[in-house]
Symmetry: C2
Subunit: 466 residues, 2 copies
């Protein structure tokens, strides 16, 4: 029990007194690593204060790494040598889920989109970076245009042409420090007074981004082809944000007929479609699907992509391709903004693409993921109890859906899985309307595991079903 006495006269906010006290206890090892703290409610009751105050103190301690939270379990004292816990990695979890997701580093993480260190081409990257720093010193210290340096935009344009068949001018490409930053630019460009619609299920984060930037955003349910025009008709949507070539997390590919319906919807008024093509490089099965952008004749589609999946999410480089009228407006209004990406990394990435390393890297990664995926699926489906599970959306990229025949509630199953050493998220976390979510279905992100982990994953999974 914490023997903390609060001094109301001390002129130090209460939460800060709690924070200071616990921090001290952790630093002096009076609170041992791994030991559990009282729940927020219990501590608040003990001290006769509001739970909000305790929450603030715990929040602060968490953000500084002194304590960590386990989902549905409580707060625990960190080991001091781990005082820099990485932020939660699952890119798609909701705000709340992110804040309280368990610390990484224990068990195998199938909820994250991170990649393995051995996947990143460190030696090539290091060589190109060194050469860039030796040969381009003056350019490296010359301010980048708002949209990014021309060589990088040229390299991206030729990648889009060869890989995606998209004829795009380098001038249409805007490079930025991550897709989230580019969304923010788009909101400024298109307007805060518009209604933005996103997919349900989908990346819950998107709604937060739109709303935090002062725009209205609602989610629309998808059918088996994606968002329908009739769903759009039910609200006064101005801007539709979708990933038609590979919906996350269901893996749905919007067929061409639906694509034309959506383009017709956008063409008729002051409307736009933001096409998020985030993992197009990792379509493992089947023919590539033409992007919406490339069949759009009305200049209503904004194409977005990122190097987060195809290279590393920690090198913050994404890009968007603007249709001509929006591009002009962008150049007219936002020319004054500084680029958010370091020239050092822009030039290095430009060389990486120009010299063919990017294409080779993607091919290598695609083959490696394909193999990994096959091994994992084979291990799961050849397990003696394989009839208790079902694999959905086999065609999708770096994740698939796993349906489990069980009576356990999803949260309980997540807990059991975690106790057995694997982190797996139920599909319902990606639904705004949780009632609509298929039960007992889990999203398996396998990009951060190795073939050696497969046996452990399979064992842990089936053990949890017992």
């Amino acid at each position: 029990m914490l023997t903390l006495e609060l001094g109301k006269s001390k002129n130090i906010p209460l939460y800060q007194q709690i924070y200071q006290y616990i921090k001290q206890e952790v630093l002096t090892h009076r609170l041992k690593a791994g030991s559990r703290l009282p729940s927020k409610r219990a501590l608040a009751a003990q001290l006769g204060i509001s739970t909000i105050t305790v929450e603030n103190a715990y929040g602060q301690l968490m953000s500084e790494g002194y304590i960590y939270a386990k989902l549905k379990s409580g707060y625990y004292v960190s080991a001091l040598e781990n005082l820099a816990p990485p932020a939660p990695m699952a890119s798609a979890v909701s705000k709340t889920a992110q804040c309280i997701s368990s610390p990484k580093g224990t068990g195998i993480d199938l909820s994250s989109n991170s990649i393995l260190p051995q996947s990143f081409p460190f030696s090539i990257w290091s060589r190109l970076l060194r050469r860039t720093m030796a040969e381009k010193q003056s350019l490296l210290l010359t301010k980048s245009p708002t949209a990014g340096i021309l060589p990088l935009r040229q390299a991206i344009a030729s990648h889009l042409m060869s890989f995606r068949g998209m004829p795009v001018s380098p001038a249409q490409i805007i490079v930025g420090a991550g897709t989230e930053y580019l969304y923010e630019l788009l909101i400024k460009l298109i307007g805060r007074d518009k209604l933005y619609c996103v997919e349900d299920p989908g990346y819950q984060k998107l709604q937060h981004i739109y709303r935090d930037n002062g725009a209205c955003c609602i989610s629309l349910p998808i059918d088996h082809k994606g968002i329908s025009v009739s769903a759009l008709g039910s609200v006064a949507c101005d801007v539709l944000h979708i990933s038609p070539s590979h919906h996350f997390p269901t893996g749905i590919i919007t067929p061409v007929s639906r694509r034309y319906e959506l383009l017709a919807w956008a063409a008729s008024e002051q409307r736009y479609i933001i096409e998020d093509d985030y993992d197009t490089e990792f379509r493992l099965v089947g023919k590539p699907i033409p992007s919406l952008f490339s069949i759009d004749m009305s200049s209503k589609v904004i194409y977005m992509n990122t190097f987060s999946k195809s290279l590393a999410s920690t090198i913050r480089i994404s890009y968007m391709v603007l249709p001509q009228p929006l591009l002009e407006e962008f150049n007219r209004r936002f020319n004054y903004l500084s680029s958010t990406v370091s020239t050092f990394e822009q030039y290095t990435l430009a060389s990486f693409i120009e010299q063919g390393y990017f294409e080779r890297h993607i091919n290598r990664m695609r083959n490696s993921y394909k193999k990994l995926r096959q091994l994992l699926l084979r291990a799961l489906t050849s397990h003696p109890e394989h009839n208790r599970i079902e694999i959905l959306q086999q065609a999708s990229g770096l994740y698939f859906l796993l349906k489990i025949h069980t009576r356990l509630p999803d949260a309980a199953l997540e807990d059991r899985l975690r106790q057995n050493g694997i982190h797996l998220q139920a599909l319902q976390h990606f639904y705004q309307n949780r009632q609509a979510a298929p039960k007992h279905t889990f999203v398996v992100n396998y990009s951060s595991i190795t073939p050696n982990d497969i046996q452990k994953v399979t064992d842990a999974l089936f053990k949890s079903l017992k």
Copy 2:
């Protein structure tokens, strides 16, 4: 004369036809590098279309680098080997001035805050980067917390302590891809419904940033101590954005008495002060001034600083220090956002600071700027016609003000200077209310020249006065 025929039936927008035509003429060398294009108005009259259409075409050609603009002179064809002109570098010029500032690379630029290649510690940076990539592969691919990796925030905290005497917790520090990005975060945090006030004169860009993010922003005139509380009282200001330790471009240092008045103003209501300490490392003369943040007892000051001046503006790393209540709100609301700075550069910068290289770099740069400044001032003041000029704000950092005794209007003098090979901006460009600007006064940014340029600068300056 351009012999362009527009086809209105062609289904291609008019501006695009003009753009295509001129681009073709440039690429095939029918329009020679350096040749002047018709003015927008003239071309519009010739073709019988609106000047807006021509403006759009020229804008597009400029953004792609086919043509460039000279201030008050017109549009010129680029040399094809220069097809990637850097964006204008002057960080403080207004939107319009930025879009039409002359291309760099000709003459000596005293309007830019860029630094010389020889100033950047390439060999140390390269070594640290290489070591980081060899030793921290797993960390480099681990997602950064929203506010930045802990080692970098710890390094910044200890730099602030040793350099600025500011006791700050690493948890209070938010790292982001440039100060502009951090302003945007702040607007989201504090609110779009607030009235933001900036200094007049000052960075004209700030107003654009606030307004483009949906906030109201006005500029308030400064007196000889900075913004006064009575000026604040004249509007219902909520958030005051100032650089009290070294006002740009006047160099004014807000004295302690005024600082306390401003803190008192902020303390009494839901108000905040954003303290931009952008060039504190380059205070060349006199004692360091305690930051507003460090004497604020009411948690109302947000401290901002950047590595743009002290390292390089093209490595996009800035930071802010939040007071406790705002920090909690930030952690609660924005934990879901991805960091905008690459982990590769975050870890490298952390090592750079931790291992003492940053301090040594600053000292070296400060000495070098001090020497350069002395040489430049000596050359100017020992010129036979030195009584035609006057140096103002001698105590300021990487720039000073130059008053010229002349009857020429500022614009004409800027033109003459440019013809003589130096780019210099009149003080009035930094005023919202141009009538209030002192005449014949110029801002001399000398950070991107070398001692070898000094004779040329002096000659060109006095030649322009004849």
